[in-house]
Amino acid sequence: MKVNLFILVLVIFFFAAVGFPGCPAPDAACAQTPEMGDGQVTGDGQWGRGDRLWAMGDGKSQDPVHAESPSAGEDVPARKDMKPSGRSQDAFQDEYKDEGQDYDDEPFADERVTIADPIEPFNRLMHRFNDRLYFWLLKPVAEGYKEAVPEPARISVKNFYYHLLFPIRFVNCVLQADLTGAGSEAGRFAINTVWGVGGLLDPSSNQGIELPKQNTDFGQTLGMYGVGHGFYIVWPFLGPSSPRDSVDIAGEYVLDPLSYFTPWYTSLGKRPLKMINNASLSLGDYEAVIEAAIDPYIAIRNGYIQYRMKEVQARRAKSLFFRNRKNAAPEAADPPPAN
């Protein structure tokens, strides 16, 4: 009996000292709710759009943040007691000491991608050209177009252009040994051609069918087999790329069915419409990226390579050749640890 009691006391002490594993966090989490009212569901405009190169993609986040911060100097003393989130005086005094290997949490270390940029002056020039093109031409036109054409129609136009490039996605799924993906693309093409009025609608994504889009290209295929970017290029009109990813410019021409039926110059006419239409569906995204950036050129360059790297990883995880290898795609391969 005594032993029992002793153990019980020990247990209580143990938990008192260590903390009940289940408690602290949930408490903290829930505690916030009541004060403000609780909600549900979600949504948010700003991230909501996004398209094409990540750069135009949604304004990354909300980083919200707060700025009640009257700028530093003035209220240094006040700050001490304020301490909104553990931001105590000490935190500012603390030196950075290679904490956790340069803050690279193991699973995310691969995000530290870099790319050579030997032609930076040219790229910066092209970056500026594309930027002006967007603000002076593309954006005003897209805004007018947005006024004139209702959203469902614009989404249909986008679907249609996407549908046309089916051969690229299919061929690349096959080259990547992603047979499920190839099957899914073929199914989507058949269903959307017949039931989606030639690709204007996307019934394949509806519930019940749910054939996922395989957004893949030659750059990803090459990357999957170990071909590196080479270096960074900003193309006029097309934006961020690299020698490897530029293969798709050729691929798009060769495998785009329209390019066989029509003279080459019609594809020049097609691209602006595609650009305007896509821009009309993602107005504000590019602006957010630019505004958030301290050096927009570097922000876009880094965004581009991070984005492409993750795409290649995701494709590897689906490939018959790579999916069982370690490092293929850490996230996709390992199920989340239970604890």
């Binding site: 032993v3 153990i7 903390g19 009940f20 594993p21 289940g22 408690c23 966090a25 949930p26 989490a29 829930c30 916030q32 709710t33 403000m36 909600g39 569901v41 979600t42 949504g43 948010d44 405009g45 991230w47 909501g48 759009r49 996004g50 990540w54 993609g57 949604d58 304004g59 986040s61 909300q62 980083d63 919200p64 943040v65 707060h66 700025a67 700028s71 530093a72 100097g73 989130s85 500012f92 005094q93 950075y96 803050y103 193991e106 959203e151 614009r154 989404i155 569906l281 504000g284 957010a288 505004e291 958030a292 950036a293 301290i294 050096d295 922000a299 880094n302 984005y307 993750k310 239970a338």
Partner: protein, 202 residues
Amino acid sequence: MQNRILKKRLIGCSLFLMLLLSIPAYAGAPLSAVENTVNRVLDVLRDPKLKGPTAKPAKTEKLRVIYKDMFDEMEFSRRTLTRNWNKFTPEQRREFVDLFEQVLEKTYLDRILEYSNEKIVFYKETMIGEDKAEIQSKVIASSKEVPIYYRMILKNGKWKVYDVVVENVSLVQNYRTQFNEILAGGTPEQLLETLRKKVKTH
């Protein structure tokens, strides 16, 4: 004697069970933390009393409180500066953190206020060690889906966001590259000046 050993084992087993049982509750914490916060933001955005342009300052104020609670701006700043942090004096650090917050707020607040009933789904939580987690969510708009992951850290019993990954682009990584390049050729004071200008011109 026999009896005692049995009892010990019994207690040992129940202890073990208790530990096991407590794990799931723990694992759900970061996800519900971020989900709660996002829901609070949505409540503000949907509040019928706060409609219209006149209510914008009130809305902004409410949102600011929520964000402050959700984000660990210190962690965010240090992670973007990494070794460069040491080049800053404590006063410069304080100013940096404040300015950086303002830049981010100015950029994203307007976009958040544009919110128009997109749906947000939180679908996966991955624990990374004991004090970090990644929460995966997606925003479903009429023309596309945008994946947004929140990386969280447990500090003083509270889960706080220290990085946001939007469409596969980690914000911390992105800013780190920018600050690295700027500080490779410039001084902390120059970076602060750039940030000051950025805050003013908005």
